[in-house]
Amino acid sequence: MGLHELTLRNFRLFSEFTFTPDHGAITVFFSPNGTGKTSVLEAVFALATGSSFRTSAAGDLIKTSEQVAEIHGVLFQQTRRIQVDLVLTKGVRNTTKKMLVNGQRPKSRALLSEVLPLTVFTPEGVDIVRRGPEPRRMFLTNLLTDVNPNTADRIEKFDQVLVQRNAFLRSLQGDTPRTTQQKELDVWDEEFCEAATHIIEIRLQLLEKLRPLVTNYYHAISESSLDVGVLYERSWQGQLRDALRDALHHDMFRGFSTVGPQRDDILLTLSGRDARRQASQGEQRSLALALRLAGHELVRHERGLDPLLLLDDVFSELDPQRSERLLQLLPVGQTLVTTASPLPSSMNPSAIIDLSEALL
């Protein structure tokens, strides 16, 4: 499983760029700032997920003054060869994305996670501990589909029910529902609760498996033996059905659902302290790394394959000891690394690519 060849056309800074990373080995992009190192990883990420880890505006990915950007990847899965093409076209108002897997439109996200599971380390990775709940929920969702692509159907179903329930709330325009509307709301509530129960169940199962791995990795990275807590934090108390009813008045005015899995969080603790607010920067960084490493390990263990590792400028953020320990903990597998500074001494890349030449 991994990347065999990547071609970029009018993507970010690149007019045309192709490279073939070695299978099961480390490829390093080592060049000055502003030469498009992160863009290469971004392209790989876009192939695997259909979106960017840097921007939500897909138009940013298209080279300035060009209309169409293309990313073509050849992936391999044992003996299977998979061609993935992503074409971004600038429109009047927004950018359209067209994704093809072996020439066919993929039916769901599931197919994408099945084709190319990824683990990404970026300097912003610490946000997963420090920032609001979104990056943590996104981490859970991506990990769920990477560990078991079949869960994508359930996640998609919940998202659809949520969108419909929110649309219904907006249609009330702040008025208390009439009898017929109440009957309709009951139906959406029940669909919502059913879909939510599935999501929470699979999230809890995932955290159960993730917890001991996070603890082990945290101890290894930080060389401490602090008690690490990884707990699911619901956005309501008691029964979801009752919580929905209690929140209805609120939700009607806001036009969206304020309780449910879409608002839940992961509570991360160190010796009982809330790591989101009460941990040092170093502790937060170590915990963020531990979470990603644990996720990576879980995918390896459950699926028996190595997710492609993307390390974006990670070593500049870590002190030399932590960098060395991270390297020791990283599993072997195909790895793409970007750096503007010299690599840690124990890293043995099979190829080093200087991108400043590719831009000429």
Binding site: D153, V161, Q164, R165, F168, T180, Q181, E184, V187, W188
Partner: protein, 200 residues
Amino acid sequence: MSYPPPLQAVVDELGRFPGVGPKSAQRIAFWLMRQPHEDVSRLALSLEDMKSKLSFCERCCNIAETGGLCPICADDRRDQTTICVVENPPDVLAVERSGAFHGTYHVLHGVLNPLEGITPDRLRIQELILRLRGPVKEVILCFNSNVEGDATAMYLSRLLQVPGLVVSQPASGLPVGGDLEFADDLTLGRAIDGRRILAD
């Protein structure tokens, strides 16, 4: 610079079609402009003909000749005690092709979809309720297996809680000729939940 008003009118009308944007509307309008007069007249006539001759069946709301019943409702060999409720007229054809159903239909002309502003009062639900005054014993809710279809089925099943009336749903499961190993887990899970006993 805009088009001559008669052409612009056609572009505007075509642009209201589902799935037709301004560009397609223009392309079709220009194409029509280039066609022989009699071809375009025939199209106009066929549209006029359709609207004047057809409307909805007074009983099941399927498409039927104006002022009467559709062929299925008019057929007294059909079992009038069983009603299969579907979303759209093409669904009637799909169930008919199966040859497994001998009752009558009811077409809702949509399913609940708050996102598109489709509320219960925009569906032909009142017409269905009125039919229950007749000799109806069973209502089969036959919708697409998606969020909106499921919600509509749940909504109707609550509304149709009438003594002596059975409300059912088609079994969901594996397609004939389908491979077990390629079935998604939701479908397979439902198929196993709704399994049938072969020997006891």
